[in-house]
């Protein structure tokens, strides 16, 4: 069986579905038996969700939107 160290190294790639089949099988086998790594997997999920969260912060401010729309209108119309 793969080590915890190896399992942890694969977790994010696993969440991205970026592992090859064998690597994935080895990881799943490990996760089936190791509570620590299941905790790590859950944690990795939450950290990813955290990165996706800044929602309110990334709303385009009205003033900026007007400015940018003006800009692209000028570019588009100038052709």
């Amino acid at each position: 069986m793969i080590s915890c160290r190896e399992a942890v190294a694969r977790l994010w790639a696993y969440l991205d579905r970026n592992l090859e089949r064998l690597q994935e099988q080895e990881l799943e086998e490990h996760l089936g038996l190791c509570r620590h790594c299941c905790g790590e997997l859950e944690f990795a999920r939450h950290v990813r969700a955290l990165l996706q969260r800044p929602g309110a912060a990334v709303e385009l401010p009205t003033e900026t939107r007007a400015k940018l729309e003006d800009f692209i209108r000028q570019l588009g119309g100038g052709a």
């Binding site: 944690f43 950290v47 955290l50 990165l51 996706q52 929602g55 912060a57 990334v58 119309g77």
Partner: protein
């Protein structure tokens, strides 16, 4: 010439629906509104110049992400050499660190409690702590779901390089989250020494 009058979207129609999205990417990359706006404007100009030769008009969002990413990449190229030599502690594991230091001794969900310390502004700040190429990779992969292969295309680097950025970026992110919590006194580390 005749094609220009065809059914394809013009520049303005192609770009306008994606402004919010692009601003979100730019803000995460730059960390503040002024820089994000500046980057976005630069990207919009580049997109306009490249628009005539754009063949893949079916996927404007992907194309615009590529233009924005390379505009960002050009900006940080100077920092990049530095960042490549900055060491990343590959052994740091945030999950273990939290368990070890146990900053919320009365909680049975200590890992979640830790993550809940971070509001939107703090997350943007933490992302700025990552080396620029790691930041690009982490944001495009984990926030927007681009594959390592696509990120390689956007930045003109091989997939293997992107995978290593992702790995190192993730490690750096874990370290930055911890250090942010410590340096902003979000957690009480009690008697545990640094």
């Amino acid at each position: 010439m005749a094609e220009a009058a065809g059914p394809g979207l013009g520049y303005e129609e192609c770009v306008r629906p994606h402004l919010d999205y692009l601003y979100g990417v730019a803000l995460r990359l730059c960390g503040n509104r002024t820089a994000a706006e500046d980057l976005l404007q630069d990207a919009l100009l580049r997109a306009f110049r490249a628009f005539r030769s754009l063949r893949d008009r079916e996927h404007p969002r992907r194309w615009l992400t590529r233009v924005l990413t390379s505009a960002f990449y050009d900006r940080v190229r100077m920092e990049l050499n530095d960042a490549l030599h900055r060491s990343v502690e590959e052994d740091f594991d945030l999950f273990d660190k939290i368990a070890e230091e146990d900053p919320f001794p009365y909680s049975d969900r200590v890992h979640l409690d830790f993550l809940e310390l971070f509001d939107d502004a703090r997350i943007l700040e933490v992302l700025q702590g990552l080396a620029p190429q790691h930041r690009v990779a982490v944001i495009l992969a984990y926030v927007y779901g681009f594959t390592a292969r696509e990120i390689g295309e956007f930045t003109g680097r091989p997939v293997g390089t992107v995978l290593s950025w992702l790995h190192r970026g993730r490690k750096q992110l874990e370290r930055e989250l911890w250090e942010h919590a410590v340096s902003h006194h979000l957690i009480d580390r009690g008697a545990v020494g640094r």
